[in-house]
C-alpha cells in the first residue's frame, strides 16, 4: 500500500472513530448503541478481499479498543477475523451488487457481536455472555445494514484499487480497478 493509500485508510478510520464516539454513542435503541466501527472490516473485505478485510479489521479494531473498557486487542482480533471471513465469503460474489454491502453488514455485524461476546467471555469477561447479546446483535446488525451503502462509498475512497487476489470479479469491478 502506498503512503497515500495508508493516509486515506487512517483518515477513514479516524472519521469513523469520531462519528462513533460523538454521534453514534448517543443513539440508544433499547439501551444499545450501534457500532459503525464493525462496518470497516466488512466493507474492506468486500472491496479488497480477505487480506485487506483482515488488515482493516486489525487497524479499526485497535482504534476502537482505545475507547472501550473491554480487554485491549479484543476488538482488533474479532474485527480481523470478521474482515477475513467476509472477504472470503464474498470472493465468488459479484462485488458490485448493490445488495451485497447490506447483506454483508447484516451478517458480518451479527457474527462480530457473537464472536466478541464469546471470546470476551473466554478471556476472563464472563459477564459479556450474560448481557442481552441478541438485542445487541439485532440493533448493531440492522443499524449497520442501513448505513452500509453510504459507508461503502467512504471505504471505497480509502481502498480504491480492488484487490482480486487472483479471483475474478465482475467486469465493472475489474475495469474500475485497472
Amino acid at each position: 500500500m502506498t503512503t497515500r493509500g495508508a493516509s486515506r485508510v487512517v483518515l477513514v478510520v479516524a472519521l469513523f472513530v469520531v462519528v462513533q464516539q460523538t454521534l453514534v454513542l448517543d443513539l440508544r435503541i433499547g439501551g444499545v448503541h450501534p457500532d459503525i466501527m464493525v462496518l470497516l472490516p466488512i466493507l474492506a473485505g468486500i472491496i479488497g478481499g480477505p487480506s485487506r478485510g483482515a488488515a482493516m479489521g486489525f487497524v479499526a479494531g485497535l482504534a476502537a479498543d482505545l475507547f472501550l473498557p473491554t480487554p485491549f486487542g479484543l476488538s482488533a482480533l474479532v474485527a480481523t477475523l470478521v474482515g477475513f471471513a467476509v472477504g472470503e465469503a464474498t470472493l465468488a460474489v459479484d462485488r458490485t451488487a448493490v445488495w451485497l454491502p447490506v447483506v454483508a453488514a447484516l451478517g458480518g455485524s451479527a457474527l462480530y457481536e457473537v464472536v466478541y461476546a464469546v471470546l470476551g467471555s473466554v478471556l476472563g469477561q464472563p459477564q459479556m455472555l450474560h448481557t442481552d447479546v441478541l438485542r445487541i446483535v439485532v440493533v448493531v446488525s440492522v443499524a449497520n445494514a442501513v448505513l452500509a451503502v453510504p459507508a461503502m462509498r467512504v471505504v471505497n475512497w480509502a481502498l480504491p484499487v480492488a484487490s482480486t487476489e487472483g479471483v475474478p470479479t465482475s467486469p465493472l469491478s475489474s475495469g474500475a480497478s485497472r
Partner: protein
Amino acid sequence: MASPRRYRRPRTTLLILVLASVTIITLDARGGFHRITSGVRSVAADAFSPIRGGIDDIIEPIGSFLAGSVHYGAVRQQNQKLQAEINQLEQQKASQQDIDQQMQQLTALLDLPFLGNLQTVPAEVTNFGSSNFAATIDISVGRNQGVQPNMPVVGSTGPAGQGGLVGQVVIADHNSSTVRLVTDGQSAVGVRLDSGPDAGLLAVLSGQGAGKPLSADLIPANAVLANGDIFSTSGVPGASYPMGIPVAKVVAHRIGLTSSQESVSLVPLADLTQLRYVSVVLWGPST
C-alpha cells in the same frame, strides 16, 4: 496448482494479524504492557474530549431548532403566535427545571452524610457506556484531579434521595475516567446488612448487567431479611471500598428448596439511569 498459491498470502496475513492481536491481549492482561496501552488510551481520551464537546455544542442547537420547527408546524392550525409563546414559556420552565435538578444533584453531592470526612472530587457524567458489553460511564475528572483506578464513585440521586455507591474507577486518564457501575457483570462489592435481627451480616453483591438487579452471594438460608433492607459497604480489612457507603436495598428474597443460601435481588440506591453528576471518593485500600 494455482489455488493454493493464491490463498497462501491472505492466510499468512490473517495468521500474522491474529497472532499480533493475541499478543497484545496477553501483554495487556499481564501488566507491563498495560502501562503503554493505558498511556495511549489516555492520549486518545484527551484528544477526543474537546472534539466531543465541540460536536455536542454544534449538534444541540441544531436539534433544538429542528424540534422547534416540528413543534411549530404541528400547532400552526391553532393559534401560532399564542402557541409559540406557550412553547417559549414551557422551554423556559423546562430549562429552569433542568437547572434546578442539576443544582439539587450538585447540592446533594456536597452533603452526602455517609461520606463523613472522606475527600471527594465532583464530576460530570459525560458519556453512558462506550461498550454494549459493559455497564460503564465516563466522567469529567481524571488523574490531574487526583483520581486513580479503584477509587469509589458515589451519586446523590436515588429512589429515596439518599444516594449511594455508583461504582468504581477502572480507567483514569489525564482529565477523564471510566467508571464501572455496580450493575456491571464484573462488579463485586463486599457489603454488610445495615439493620434488622441479622444486622452486620456480610455478603457480596454482584452485578448482573446494565438495568438488571444485583444479586447477593454468601447469605445463609436462615438469614432474616425483609424487602427494603439496605446493604452498605463492609469496609473489612482489604476491602475495595470504605465502610458505610449505602449500596442497594432488597427487593426480593427466597430460599431455594435445595439451596443452603438465600437468593436475594437488590436495586442500587443510586439511580444509575439519571446520573448527571457524581463524586469520586479519593480513597484507596491503603489510605
